[in-house]
């Protein structure tokens, strides 16, 4: 899955334009990520001009992300 630092997002929707599986979309005034659709390809993170998207390969559930962060560092 990916995480988005929304505060730095410039809402250019570039991520959405390269996502092959519609896993990131503009909803209201921010980008919304759908982890269940995400295939970890990382294209969104690559293309993002504001560098606010981080790819966490293999992570499916946001809870797991928090846990591993806490455990690892």
């Amino acid at each position: 899955m990916i995480t988005i630092e929304h505060a730095g997002c410039i809402f250019c929707v570039g991520c959405s334009s390269v996502c092959p599986v519609n896993a990131i979309e503009a909803v209201g005034t921010r980008m919304k990520h759908y982890p269940e659709r995400c295939i970890d390809c990382g294209l969104c993170a690559k293309v993002c001009p504001a560098n606010v998207i981080t790819l966490h390969k293999g992570v499916k559930d946001p809870g797991q992300l928090k846990a591993s962060k806490g455990a690892g560092k």
Binding site: C12, S17, K46, A50
Partner: protein
């Protein structure tokens, strides 16, 4: 079946507003919805526009839309060798894009189009297997149905509704440029568009300095999506951060290094081939949403306006016959492919040839060709310039021969 409008246009940018102006002018009931709170805001654009399409549509740009006039271009090779290029192709304006978009939209309103801002098309309404309108939400409130026999996507890069209608809107990294731009001041310019090429300056792209009023300039970079590395600070050809490269360019530019930034933003632009098809039953895609962008420089406004005029001519005719089937809408697609499509296909070939050149090749070419040959090249007349380049550097024939086919 009762419809609320003859046509619903999603997006009030240059494509949507131009399309709406023509259709409303022909007496159609047009609704334009735009997700933004204000038409034209935020600006995400280098703001350069040639005079050609504006004149073709008999428009007279009001002063407030023009930041400054452009009299030509300065194209700079990796080694600093420059070509000054003054011609019809490089005559135009750097706009105040916010004012320009709003003005174009106002022209549509003047013709009778209805425009709603802060209104997002959330879903395509399908009836009997065909589009019949969209659900729209004003300011995030509960969506409601708006029905029309034709839905037009002028959504730009987002193109969610076009995607829902079954169009292949997704881009590969190879077919996008990732961009970053500052508005800077002071910068004393000569009303020239300045374009800097080089694989270490901007891999598969360029840095631009576009003059603006009051000693200002748009200073931006676009690099190939396949050359981007999201890792902060990366500068290699195989993986670069566009903002870092742009900052490096500015730091090494004597007239910019001490200038202030007044605005900054980034974006992703389409520089690949257009979509294979632009129409389906009761649905049409125009402008950047259909990937109708110049693949060489990434400019979308002029193409969008020209496309919108073509599309509107077809729609006005279809409206008279009350037929919005795919067949009735296809003249737009056929005409586009025969005119603009041919031009864009040549530009794409050119982009793909240029991206194979190393800095030494670029230096050689800039040293060899004149602005007149640059002009021919942009016109798609490759034979003369290619022959001249290959005569002095035969090894480039392999890369450039695609332009001769």
């Amino acid at each position: 079946m009762k419809y609320d409008h003859d046509v619903i246009v999603i997006g009030g940018g240059p494509a949507g507003s131009t399309f709406a102006r023509y259709c409303a002018g022909a007496g159609m009931d047009v609704l334009v919805v735009d997700k933004r709170r204000e038409i034209g805001v935020p600006v995400r654009c280098g703001e350069g526009l040639g005079t050609r399409e504006v004149l073709a549509q008999n428009l007279e740009l009001p002063k407030r839309c023009i930041s400054t006039h452009v009299v030509g271009a300065r194209v700079v090779a990796p080694n600093g060798k420059e070509i000054i290029w003054k011609d019809q192709e490089t005559t135009g304006w750097v706009l105040e894009r916010k004012m320009f978009d709003k003005w174009l939209c106002e022209l549509a309103v003047d013709k009778g189009a209805k425009v709603h801002t802060y209104t997002r098309a959330t879903e395509l309404i399908i009836e009997n297997g065909k589009p019949a309108g969209v659900k729209i939400s004003h300011g995030g409130q509960d969506p409601y149905d708006v029905r029309a026999p034709l839905v037009v996507s002028a959504e730009g890069m987002e193109s969610m509704i076009a995607r829902a209608a079954g169009f292949r809107t997704v881009h590969s990294l190879y077919d996008v440029d990732t961009c970053y731009q500052y508005e800077m001041k002071p910068y004393d310019h000569e009303n020239l568009l300045e374009l800097y090429f080089g694989n270490s300056i901007a891999p598969r792209g360029y840095v631009w300095i576009f003059p603006k009023s009051d000693r200002k300039a748009n200073v931006g970079i676009g690099i190939g999506g396949n050359h981007v590395n999201a890792k902060k600070g990366a500068t290699g050809v195989d993986g670069a951060d566009p903002k870092v490269l742009l900052d490096r360019f500015i730091a090494s530019h004597p007239k910019l290094k001490d200038a202030s930034t007044l605005l900054e933003f980034g974006g992703v632009i389409s520089v690949g081939a257009p979509m294979d098809e632009f129409v389906k039953d009761n649905f049409m895609v125009i402008g950047t949403a259909a990937k109708q962008v110049d693949p060489v420089h990434g400019g979308g406004m002029a193409v969008a306006m020209e496309t919108a005029a073509l599309a509107a001519a077809t729609v006005i005719d279809a409206h008279k016959r009350k037929d919005f089937s795919k067949a009735a809408l296809s003249p737009y697609e056929t005409k586009w492919k025969a005119t603009l499509g041919k031009k864009m296909a040549k530009r794409l070939m050119l982009r793909k040839a240029i991206e194979k050149l190393n800095d030494d090749d670029l230096d050689y070419i800039f040293n060899t060709i004149t602005y007149k040959e640059l002009n021919e090249t942009m016109d798609g007349k490759f034979a003369g310039p290619v022959a001249k380049v290959v005569a002095g550097r035969p090894q480039l024939l392999k890369v450039l021969s695609v332009l001769l086919s």
